[in-house]
Symmetry: D2
Amino acid sequence: MKVSIVGSTGYTGLELVRLLNKHPKVELEILTSRSFDGEVISDIYPNLRGEADIKCEALDIDKLAESSDLVFTALPHGVSMEVVPQLLAKGLKIIDLSGDYRYDNLETYESWYKTHNSPELFKDAVYGLPELNRKEIKDSRLVANPGCYPTASILALAPLVDNDLIDLGNIIIDAKSGTSGAGRKLSLGSHFCEVNNNFKAYKVANHRHTSEIEEKLGILAKKDISLSFTPHLLPINRGILATVYANLIENIDTKFLLKCYQDYYQGEKFVRVMDEGKLPEIKHVAGSNYCDIGLTVDERTNRVIVISTIDNLLKGAAGQAIQNLNILAGWGETLGLDNVGLYL
Amino acid sequence: MKVSIVGSTGYTGLELVRLLNKHPKVELEILTSRSFDGEVISDIYPNLRGEADIKCEALDIDKLAESSDLVFTALPHGVSMEVVPQLLAKGLKIIDLSGDYRYDNLETYESWYKTHNSPELFKDAVYGLPELNRKEIKDSRLVANPGCYPTASILALAPLVDNDLIDLGNIIIDAKSGTSGAGRKLSLGSHFCEVNNNFKAYKVANHRHTSEIEEKLGILAKKDISLSFTPHLLPINRGILATVYANLIENIDTKFLLKCYQDYYQGEKFVRVMDEGKLPEIKHVAGSNYCDIGLTVDERTNRVIVISTIDNLLKGAAGQAIQNLNILAGWGETLGLDNVGLYL
Amino acid sequence: MKVSIVGSTGYTGLELVRLLNKHPKVELEILTSRSFDGEVISDIYPNLRGEADIKCEALDIDKLAESSDLVFTALPHGVSMEVVPQLLAKGLKIIDLSGDYRYDNLETYESWYKTHNSPELFKDAVYGLPELNRKEIKDSRLVANPGCYPTASILALAPLVDNDLIDLGNIIIDAKSGTSGAGRKLSLGSHFCEVNNNFKAYKVANHRHTSEIEEKLGILAKKDISLSFTPHLLPINRGILATVYANLIENIDTKFLLKCYQDYYQGEKFVRVMDEGKLPEIKHVAGSNYCDIGLTVDERTNRVIVISTIDNLLKGAAGQAIQNLNILAGWGETLGLDNVGLYL
Amino acid sequence: MKVSIVGSTGYTGLELVRLLNKHPKVELEILTSRSFDGEVISDIYPNLRGEADIKCEALDIDKLAESSDLVFTALPHGVSMEVVPQLLAKGLKIIDLSGDYRYDNLETYESWYKTHNSPELFKDAVYGLPELNRKEIKDSRLVANPGCYPTASILALAPLVDNDLIDLGNIIIDAKSGTSGAGRKLSLGSHFCEVNNNFKAYKVANHRHTSEIEEKLGILAKKDISLSFTPHLLPINRGILATVYANLIENIDTKFLLKCYQDYYQGEKFVRVMDEGKLPEIKHVAGSNYCDIGLTVDERTNRVIVISTIDNLLKGAAGQAIQNLNILAGWGETLGLDNVGLYL
């Protein structure tokens, strides 16, 4: 399959290039870049030298349409919607990594993001979380790849919500992300000396991903959910760990709940439910497409604490996008994604 | 005042030496060490070279009693209670940095720690959190210096609990600590390659500090409290950030709550309540004795998110111990503690 | 090919398991471990969970001989020589990652290491640096995999030495390594709080790898070489960067020298010579088997500064060992080694 | 003494504010800032909150002259020379932290920097390295505070050069600096994800500090010196470690050389020569004004390896500037500089 990437020089773009370049069924065609038009991707990211010495180009819709079957759009929110309708109109399939087509509810999008220019596409877009929506993804032409925090959060909570095990009014997600989540754009908040040795919360009570998590869990619950989501910035490059708190409706224990999770994710290659007494760590998944989930019931408070970890650039972005590609194309879902994380 | 340190070569001991050595009213007399008996402290920690070239000695109760007015005991839990009663019997004042004398309730101590050998001292011991117990500290002969997580957590919650503003049944503390909290003792969990680039929760639903936080907040609330406390390990050396969630009983806003906090900590030199819209970060307090506190009311869920930060080795251990010394001795409370954090 | 690993639970062992487990021509048979006998490798390193759930066993020479064609020995220096002769006696091929069989000169080994128990094997052992010894490796039954620092240092210097371009009496190698080079064994020198935010030199003028570099370059030069080698410890997990200084015999410029290097490493898949004006960085190679080399002639002093980088666990250990396996087996040299580094 | 800072919001400015604010003889008057005119310094650096809540102002030469006795100029090279002559003309004393007045030789400055606008001031400017120039500093009105790398390098080499112990034609300085040396200005080279887990050399054979080191050592040697200086970027915030290589003219051993160093720096409060067998580490000096120096003679090559460490922001910038202030003012040289480094 001929595949191109629009917005290939950010950190998510880098990961798409790195993985697609080794994907056994993919020919990587065009890499577009606004900032690095004319430069070779391996000059920007020299880890790719001798592997993917592809020249970046300015965005040209016609050229993309001619040379590609499917396009990954890895653009900022609000920019993606300028491009995606044009590419769809050319008959291309799209996997969009922005937030622009993730929502069912236009009002929610517009109250957390901005005015949308193509809400008529919402009905075509499928939320690309394979563990929940595999069937719909298979037949779609526009996959809206989930956000990184929502991926970790929804996978941690889905078995609880879907099985009516928790009080939906008291869900708390305390999430921590590596700094690559903030992208390669320069900002004081990503300046080395400001991040190193530091840890902080940010966008408390107003991060956009709150609404994405609420909408998708609400669909599972079949009712509206309001929850608290607090992101924090870790002084590491990669990885998200979400610590999720929920009040159990009945007295159930860790063993029972772990069984629920194992059943729920039975057969899912990229979700690993931990054994009792073990909890996930970022280093277990960084560099891989896995989501690891562990949990403990705090019997003193009848509260469950679920911990999930992903690599924000892989299962939280580029890896999941390729998982979606594999589903769309009818290939094995792990194709090109079989790297084990590095641990060190 | 003549001061000695029992257990001077751990990280907390190092900080006690560093600060007491510059304290204008203190003569540092004896440093004891089991592992480094006979070695000079500045050979173990060469930052002290030319500043505190003091030889460490084996513990000798009589010698300590002869040469000291007050002793800091910086020993592991369970070890401290072997030493403290003997020192008290010699008429020394003690500031104990272990968990052994922090509790009012013996059962709580014994269910979270181990059998206690000197519970009769509990009535003499004062919990050394100056912002809550200054008056009792002043007249005590045994100050039980608080744990690091409890310091950050209690200071974050005291104004809410003391003013009856929250549902006591739904308190969640999601805390993150630098690795120096685990001490200098070798363990795989503190091995560089295991901590670096990583982040994990540990002792979920069973960390001992849970019981310390519950007891002290319970005293403020005048009723028993059960809460969830989850510690996590940050790939940095110093600092704790606690993210605290509580459900507000009435509809109050951020501005009102910040005013409560500012009133509550009025005059407290070492607690800085942030202005609206600003939140504490570890780098603002690391290297200092400050506790910074900020908060946001999430109006969508009527939940308050309070964030507090301390340096775990200073306000969470050695700094607070010296603050207690200053109170005991009737000196200015900031004496020897006026270092600003380094930011970088 | 049936392959086993003796000493599989150190960091080098982990990397061998991770890579061999995905190697298309290899069946991973036995993992031995002294410390983790009976434990599953993916419980020790949970990144491997669902990928390599193999139980570690105690060392059993007969069992290894029955089930394996080739064995990787990833043991400490001095321990390897207890095992290797027995395995060879069973007819197995060995790739040994210790220092025990790297030397031609017994005296050199014994003066830098310890008394050797099987020097008669030196004549059979081939120094496994493929870029210099590919032909000999192909036909050997005992490959002595090079040290991490020697790999980076020798590849940086070989074109200069082999082409008689420098004063052999004034070679200086200032090398910096990530902490995984010190292994997983607990020590204060690898304790997180001691390494983080720190940087230091160690074993100045007496690191064993000095003698390995000197012997191998001396063979190229056909005369004895004495040089200065200074290792330093970086607060990162992976990667070595060596900064090499040598005085040029004649006036030659950067462009000319780069051409020499490009010619020298022509066709080498795992050596990338940088273009003029570009220099290697650890993040370009970490996670891959590449050695990147760049250089600048300082015309003011007529000295060349060569910079080389490798991943100490891959090209400096496990990756190179697999490269040697591929050569021994007559497979494509990059088989199982085609991962690009992660950059982030 | 009334003191002001021009350029107070960079990292060096922050350190000047932090230290001068606690200096017992100094009143901190005006902080100027181009980028943060009107903002309070403790809003920019919240570690200073409650300690130094001073509003930054635009540069106003007259106002500075009225309210100050002495001004620290912490501006970029080339910008400083726009300001310093005006301040001198008003009769102020200046401690300038840029490179603009460090050189005796105008040609050297102009070939490594740019055209100078006020070379007539060179004769008034004193190079502010107290260990070499204390007497001249005392009587000067313009102190040119040394660069960070030159401070570490010159202190490491001065005893060798001054005592004619080494071959001046073969000096190599391999230096490594924390990222704060690159300042707070945003650049991809200081972006967290690019620096973290990475290590690289930069400006090989053309860093400006080369010329500063050469000129100052040349004055000591009374002849021209050309040397190789290679800076590298460490993934830490603070600290420089320089590894210096020089060929000894005669056969002398480590013990003898250490004695030379101890004699040379006899009475110097801020230089600590290590005992035999011990070497400096960045964590021993970070946060302090110390320069620690250790060395080993490599008897195999008759080469000495000297290692020196400083905190680049303190002994390498703001700390040394205050040391110069103390000398100028006739105060004790350690006033306001008695902080011990944090080790952790």
